[in-house]
Subunit: 415 residues, 2 copies
């Protein structure tokens, strides 16, 4: 019997919402009259090349609560990869393998959930499908905590990371306000080329706390002398200054701000300190007050226990929309979200042609950064605020959040 | 009219539960038939020396929900200090000042919430009270995420920090399991001299994940060569190895494990990298797999949004018990908790003589560490598990947890 199946995979860096989009794809396939089985490839496109699959329809059939469990589990239930397909004009072999797998599994639509690099894969597979006159629908579903995908108002995963960052800044501010001595706390936030996540630290501000008092994004050339002046000025009115800084700040010549140039570790390696650590030393040297740097690190992209409900809900809908678009004949596209209004916050879903998205990146517009380059504008604040709204009810067991069993990923032996 | 007032203050490093003990002191004073006003001194004993107080009874009278709000706010509502009183035989001046303030405010009991150093202050004030035949009750209420206070089964603040650490390790494990390449992730956890908090990372283990696969506490001399052997061995059966390591690990000669010796930053300073960063470089050099280090940093002591209900409830009761003990005539003591049973978890409250507690520290017993020195025993796991149980319902507003306004701390200009 001929089947009409779909295949889904996940790729790139983790977010808290990427499994919610996966859950949306599974849910829509199960509900669909058009499609039969929803397969998942493990570890992105490499799972297709290696023929490693899960029958997701079957898993959900056995326990329908699994869709909700997947929705609130961090990182990728299907695993990830960082695998760039060659140009098919140079090497068509992997494409032949992938499309032969599509045929074998009777796949009529393939969904790839990921960021910029994954959209490059969507573009290449779409182009190859066109070249061989394949009717298989290829659709990208966005995710990235960096919020730097073009053609969409924002990306799934960003709102939850922003909520984590703002909550952490709020809690760190309470932690620093307790001492009656001048201090500077520098918090380094992810986003090497785009400052969206660092900007979201501003959401921590409230009627009793203006932390972070200074914000530095990678979109503005970083000047160490101006930074020291900014901090000194702030210390005149604020005992405990909190600075939010992107990991990707660079000087006017485009060089990353890091202490790596002269530092060596015990093995003689150049030791690349992060931006936060570098500014910590700078403040210690130039101002001499108590100073600490905090790198929030991977926690900002995997803390499902404080996900944004808005983010997870939108990620789920985008997964469902991908299936709907595919069944309507859309291909070579990515699901996008359009904001209709900030207040009340309303959005609608659409798709955009993949070639306008792949390998492009969206920076924070300079008009949303103040002219001193050390804060964000009210417009950016208003853009960010709706994205962190709502809390997700997580089940706890034995004092810890309960997430989906992912032993199918890490217990598997290396091929 | 003669009043019978109490004074409370907070000192040392922040925890998530120290305000819950404060809430307990306020609640017990308000309910008490014996005491009139509960005053709070700002920034520990320095607030007494500077005469900076809040009338906490009045604040609660105006809004009774404030007790619950204080209970779930991180760090110190009254602010903190790191102020060591001199021996009164050398300099009795601050003691005279403090006891004159007690007299002025008609204080009959003083409660100091803090860790080892704060208990030194409790001891000194108790001894001075005895010397001058003062009838004022002086009682310590414990707190520290390090869990290293003697004479008590565990300390308020520890359980919440342990819950945060275990949750973070669980979420980081999901973050690392997604890639089909060998990797090592080193998570550095607070606790310079005691390994309790690092040990609590083991609570993250479940049926699908044994992370952290290796645990190193400061109680065991750290051997770099053995560490590399341990990691290599683990990598044979586990793709993504997660290591939990205390910031305070030292070699057999007592030297901290850090890359500080030869590293210099751009200013020519010796750059003291943490234990995690040092082990990251070691793995990179000696094994060559993908490696990352994560320093959880201050978030483990201020993340009220994922506090342990058991911890906050016990901290509250210990605040109330302090007032009860004082009203029964107890002085020169610290409130302690005694565990009667692990399963079901049952405790009772008592007090212990302060001179057996101040300036002492409680390490993890060596019999609770495995003989290889890279894991904990089942006994330690069973000791830890009850302390992270239960979740605290936090109110959210605009997407963020709502905590108490602490502008009385940081808007105040420097004296």
């Amino acid at each position: 019997m001929t089947q009409n199946n779909v295949l889904v995979a996940q790729s790139g860096g983790p977010t808290v919402a990427i499994n919610s989009s996966l859950a949306g794809v599974i849910a829509a396939t199960v509900e669909s009259k058009k499609y039969d089985i929803c397969y998942g490839a493990l570890n992105g496109v490499t799972g297709i090349l290696d023929e490693r699959y899960l029958n997701l329809s079957q898993i959900v059939e056995q326990d329908s609560t699994i869709i909700d469990q997947i929705k609130s589990t961090p990182a990728m239930y299907l695993g990830s990869c960082r695998h760039k397909l060659p140009n098919f004009d140079d090497d068509s072999h992997p494409y032949e393998q992938i499309f032969s797998q599509f045929e074998k599994l009777q796949i009529s639509a393939f969904f790839y959930i990921g960021g910029n690099d994954s959209m490059d894969t969507v573009l290449k597979l779409s182009d190859y499908a066109k070249k061989i006159n394949s009717n298989i629908r290829i659709i990208g579903i966005p995710k990235t905590i960096d919020n730097d995908l073009c053609m969409t108002d924002h990306t799934p995963g960003f709102g939850s990371a922003a909520k984590y960052v703002a909550t952490s800044i709020l809690e760190i501010s309470h932690d620093t306000y307790i001492y009656k001595v001048k201090s500077v706390t520098i918090v380094e936030i992810m986003g090497r080329d785009a400052g969206w996540l660092t900007a979201s630290s501003a959401l921590a501000r409230n009627k009793y706390s203006m932390a972070p008092h200074l914000i530095y994004l990678p979109e503005v050339a970083f000047d160490k002398e101006q930074f020291i002046e900014d901090v000194k000025k702030q210390l005149k009115t604020t005992n405990n200054v909190i600075v939010a800084v992107s990991e990707g700040i660079r000087d006017k010549d485009g060089n990353y701000i890091s202490a790596g140039e002269t530092a060596e570790d015990t093995f003689g390696h150049a030791q690349l300190s992060g931006a936060g650590k570098t500014l910590e030393y700078l403040v210690k040297e130039q101002i001499g007050v108590k100073v600490r740097s905090v790198e929030i690190n991977v926690l900002q992209r995997c803390a499902s226990h404080i996900a944004s409900k808005t983010d997870l809900d939108e990620a789920f809908v985008q997964g469902k929309k991908a299936v709907e678009f595919a069944s309507n004949g859309v291909t070579a596209a990515m699901v996008v979200i359009k904001r209709l209004s900030n207040d009340p916050y309303t959005v609608e879903y659409d798709y955009a042609v993949i070639k306008n998205i792949a390998n492009e990146a969206k920076s924070v517009p300079v008009e949303w950064i103040n002219k001193e380059g050390n804060n964000i504008t009210k417009e950016l604040f208003n853009y960010l605020l709706p994205l962190i709204q709502g809390e997700v009810s997580i089940k706890y067991s034995n004092g810890l959040p309960t997430y989906m069993d992912v032993s199918h990923l890490h217990k598997r032996s290396e091929k």
